[in-house]
């Protein structure tokens, strides 16, 4: 693990998240959030503008990762994944359109 990605990993762990950054580069980190057993793998995650978040649906049923503010809506059939490149700082709620009790938040800092 390179020093940079180790730092990214530690930063993620420090935020209390289980998401795993699979790689990182100067442009930003790449974080993976698994959906399983009717839950997002993390309930909250802190990110930097320029990071990419990827949701992977490991659950039995189709889900979505949908921004409450309407800025993105990722359809996630079973076994599928989808990502979003985050540029705008702020706090955002993400939910599943099919199962609206599934909620997580993203905090994006500059």
């Amino acid at each position: 693990m390179s020093r940079f990605s180790r730092r990214a990993f530690l930063a993620t762990v420090a935020s209390g998240a289980l998401a795993r950054p699979s790689f990182s580069n100067a442009a930003g980190r790449y974080l993976v959030i698994d959906i399983d057993k009717m839950k997002f793998g993390v309930s909250h995650i802190e990110l930097k503008a320029g990071d990419t978040v990827r949701w992977r649906n490991k659950d039995l049923v189709r889900h979505t990762a949908t921004a409450r503010d309407g800025s993105f809506d990722i359809d996630l059939p079973r076994g599928e994944e989808g990502s979003i490149y985050l540029v705008t700082p702020g706090k955002m709620e993400v939910y599943c359109r099919f199962h609206p009790g599934m909620i997580m938040t993203l905090s994006i800092v500059e």
């Binding site: 057993k37 009717m38 039995l60 049923v61 189709r62 099919f98 609206p100 009790g101």
Partner: protein, 174 residues
């Protein structure tokens, strides 16, 4: 009348508690799986009826979700039973569930338009509530195999979402 049907359904599920103590037909994993699978099939069948009869976009979207989610869970249940080499075992509770459901579907089928939509969604609220109660208090506590228990627990989380969804939809319709 629909309320009465669901009261008896609740009774059927509740009475399964009694036969859980019955040494002749204990509530083993094979029977639990059959009950859960049957409940899923009942909801898929009701969803298909709604997809046929309703013209309301929200009701159609809800029915599509029910058909899809319950099919996914049941498919997984069959795959799991296959891995465990357990054959789902028919029992009084699942047989009663099926016959109650046939009766309910006949009544739903006789309705049309908004009357159908409301009756369908009301049924979904009550049915999910009853099944969720049974999962929580009867099926999950009695499940022996860890994978079966885990699948029932995921099912319960999912069906609670369905119940909330149906309640919300009903609230919007009234």
């Amino acid at each position: 009348m629909l309320k009465k049907i669901f009261l008896s359904l609740a009774f059927v599920l509740a009475s399964a508690g009694a036969f859980a103590q019955d040494a002749a037909a204990p509530l083993n994993d094979a029977r639990i799986a059959h009950i859960a699978y049957t409940a899923g099939q009942i909801d898929i069948s009701a969803a298909n009826l709604a997809l046929e009869k309703s013209e309301d976009a929200q009701v159609l979207a809800f029915a599509e979700l029910m058909a899809r989610d319950h099919a996914a869970v049941n498919e997984e249940a069959l795959a799991l039973l296959n891995r465990l080499d357990v054959a789902p075992q028919e029992n009084d509770t699942s047989a009663a569930l099926s016959s109650q459901a046939r009766e309910r579907e006949e009544q739903l089928a006789a309705l049309a338009g908004r009357e159908f939509d409301i009756a369908y969604v009301e049924n979904e609220v009550t049915f999910h509530k009853t099944v969720n109660d049974a999962l929580q208090n009867l099926l999950i506590p009695n499940a022996q195999n860890a994978d079966l228990k885990a699948l029932l627990e995921t099912g319960l989380s999912l069906f609670r979402e369905h119940q909330l969804h149906a309640e919300h939809l009903l609230h919007e319709m009234n």
